[in-house]
Amino acid sequence: MHLLHFPLVVIRVAFPSILSASLLLKHYHGGHVVIRLALGGCTNRPFYRIVAAYNKRARDSKHIEQLGSFDPLPNLYNEKLVSLNFQRIKYWIACGAHPTKPVAKLLEACRVLPLHPMTVTKAERFRKTAAQKEALGAPEEGSEEASESKPETA
């Protein structure tokens, strides 16, 4: 009879840690993993980390794994330093991660990814404009010389 006096309390058991971690993890609908540049550094001094992250995440926030770094400012020896963890990059690309354009450019430059047709096209266009500028520059110089000589003779 005493037992009836005790209130029946339903004690909620604390979740085991594995379950609580998966509850806290964000799930993305239709999201995918990307390999992109996350910006760091200070004012007027950028520094990028090459990072595997979910597409929906903020650019600089929590990533899955850091795969390297890229320093966009050249150093004393006129070099831009890029570090790449090739093993892990291969793994993430094999898992279906998409590299962004700047990352793809870096990977093309060291021949990990094949050349994009636009790279060749852009290079050709650059060379065409450079050649055109030179051509424009040459007749301009010629005309300048002619105009200089005319006042002298006159």
């Binding site: 070099e79 831009k80 570090s83 790449l84 963890n85 090739f86 430059a109 060291c110 790279t119």
Partner: protein, 345 residues
């Protein structure tokens, strides 16, 4: 997730700490790998001439180096700590001395002597159409953790489109940047320039500069060899053979002098210190390396040992024959006096 990252960091840090402690082990691993593919450095074209890492050579050199505990454990500049005192029995003291000898032997392990590394001059691709797009070089370093630094891919894309392998200096710089080693600086300190080295030698700090060199440079880099050769030359010129004695650099110095046939000063110094057995070992090593010399042939004919070896060498191939023979005479006189004194009551 966070726990995984923490454990990953812990594993990485502990691996790095282990790497820092096993500096010499790493150096030896590099040495073994390069030695297996390269031939002898100074000796003639004979393929079977003794190398620095041969067991016999190493035994001779360790015996000559000696084991002066007082010098091996002399006070080093470090953080100020109050000294610890311990009460020990005789047996415990003996055990502690044994342990100290083991530690001293570790410290006296000789750094390897390797031949100079060959220049890297490998072009991987020449993409001329990429010329002019960039004004700077791009340096790509592979930071995969589990590969040895010698096998790491470090390539450079030049502004004119060529993709080439990095030179040794660039490699050292990149590896030090991404996998920094304790004590090593990105650019070598100005102490290693010739004029500054002279100042260091005047202050008799040869061991310090050799230790610095060991930390800063790779054993097969030209800078390492240049600094070591200059130091050994200076020691030989001024006869300061007791400076590297009982340190890890003594073996390397003896090897350099024996290869360059400049062992006269060393022999005189050893005889004056009554180290006849060590002098005989040095000459034995000399005969191993230069078996075509007249001294070697005579010694082989007479099967000489100990002081006789020294005498034959002094007669035949020595450049300072007079000094060596004088020193030998002085030693023999003192030894006869000593034996006379000990025999009389």
């Amino acid at each position: 997730m966070a726990a995984f990252r923490v454990t990953r960091c812990l594993i990485r840090d502990s691996a790095r700490l282990r790497n820092v402690e096993q500096k010499s082990a790493v150096v030896f691993r590099c040495a073994r790998r390069t030695l297996s593919s390269e031939s002898a450095n100074n000796s003639p074209t004979d393929g079977r001439s003794p190398q620095f890492s041969d067991e016999e050579v190493q035994n001779i050199l360790t015996k000559i180096t000696g084991l002066d505990l007082q010098k091996a454990f002399r006070p080093v500049k470090q953080e100020l700590k109050p000294p610890t005192y311990r009460l020990m029995t005789d047996a415990q003291l003996a055990e502690a001395t044994q342990k100290a000898i083991q530690v001293a032997k570790e410290r006296l392990k000789m750094p390897p002597v390797l031949s100079e590394r060959k220049l890297i001059d490998d072009v991987l691709a020449e993409d001329k159409f990429l010329e002019g797009l960039e004004t700077v070089k791009y340096v790509f370093t592979d930071i995969t953790y589990n590969i040895p630094h010698r096998e790491r891919f470090i390539v450079i894309r030049e502004p004119d489109g060529t993709l080439r392998k990095a030179t040794w200096e660039e490699r050292d710089r990149m590896v030090q940047l991404y996998f920094p080693r304790e004590g090593r600086r990105l650019t070598p300190p100005p102490v290693f320039k010739e004029e500054n080295l002279k100042v260091v030698f005047l202050q008799d700090r040869h061991e310090d500069i050799l230790d610095l060199c060991l930390v800063q440079f790779e054993p097969d880099s030209p800078d390492y060899r240049r600094v070591h050769n200059l130091t050994y030359e200076d020691i030989d010129k001024h006869g300061k053979y007791d400076l590297p004695c009982s340190t890890r650099h003594f073996g390397g110095m003896v090897w350099y002098l024996v290869n360059g046939k400049k062992i006269d000063g060393l022999l005189i110094d050893m005889i004056q210190r009554d180290l006849i057995q060590d002098a005989a070992s040095v000459i034995h090593l000399y005969h191993m390396l230069h078996p075509q010399g007249s001294a070697a042939k005579e010694a082989g004919e007479q099967q000489a040992q100990g002081i006789d070896l020294v005498k034959i060498f002094a007669r035949t191939e020595s450049q300072k024959a007079g000094y060596v023979e004088l020193a030998l005479q002085a030693y023999q006189e003192t030894s006869t006096e000593r034996s006379a004194q000990s025999s009389s009551p």
